[in-house]
């Protein structure tokens, strides 16, 4: 019970990210179809991105955009910035890059699976492997 109160309930979002990560990893390892493997890869990647973005969340904080109330002749806005009012934007910026790279990876992998389908006539891994074994030494 103490385990639940101290480790599971306060950090439930981390546990769900780990579950999602394991679902994606199992799909990458155990699924037979190549498109299913790629869906698993995308789920794995989004679980990691979710973990990083959730680090920057603060209780009661707003979106990290400054209000500009620039007076003429003033260099900065009126009120000083209170850091606790804004979520940490650094993980957002880092993970923005990761999303774009992930889509590029997914597009390249899907293009490669189309080439594989044209060469072997199937997307199932075991059929492709048996066809590779049937071909003479190469």
């Amino acid at each position: 019970m103490e385990f639940f109160e101290q480790l599971i309930i306060p950090k439930f979002n981390y546990w769900i990210y780990v579950i999602l990560m394991m679902i994606g990893m199992r799909a990458m390892i155990a699924k037979n179809n190549l498109v299913k493997k790629l869906i698993g890869m995308a789920i794995f990647q989004t679980a990691i991105i979710l973990f990083y973005v959730s680090i920057g969340v603060k209780e009661g904080a707003n979106i990290p955009i400054l209000d500009h109330h620039m007076m003429p002749g003033e260099i900065h806005g009126g009120d000083p910035v209170v850091v606790a009012e804004f979520a940490n934007p650094l993980p957002h910026v880092l993970m923005l890059t990761a999303i774009v790279v992930g889509v590029a990876t997914l597009g390249l992998a899907l293009a490669m699976s189309q080439k594989i389908y044209r060469a072997y006539g199937t997307l199932e891994e075991d059929d492709i492997l048996s066809q590779i074994k049937l071909e003479p030494n190469d």
Partner: protein, 81 residues
């Protein structure tokens, strides 16, 4: 950050990821994967990461679903597992 909304979205995320990996029709799998991406987009808007949310809505739920559907139409639609 609203805890009840957070829990609902995370439970739906796990459910849609399992469905996307279990259906045998690959077109249905890619559409459910689009739903998964859109739920992640909602989760990020809820986590006060709006810039990541609209990138995910454009790139994750839009482009990756489209290229996945295009691949399914170029190749086989049925999957063995």
């Amino acid at each position: 950050m609203i805890p009840a909304f957070d829990i609902i979205l995370l439970v739906f995320l796990v459910v849609t990821s399992v469905i996307a990996l279990r259906v045998r029709d690959l077109l249905a799998a890619s559409m459910v994967f689009g739903i998964y991406s859109f739920l992640i987009c909602l989760l990020w808007a809820e986590m006060t990461a709006v810039d990541v949310a609209f990138t995910e809505a454009a790139v994750g739920a839009g482009v990756s679903t489209v290229i996945m559907v295009a691949t399914v139409y170029q190749t086989a639609r049925r999957s063995k597992d």
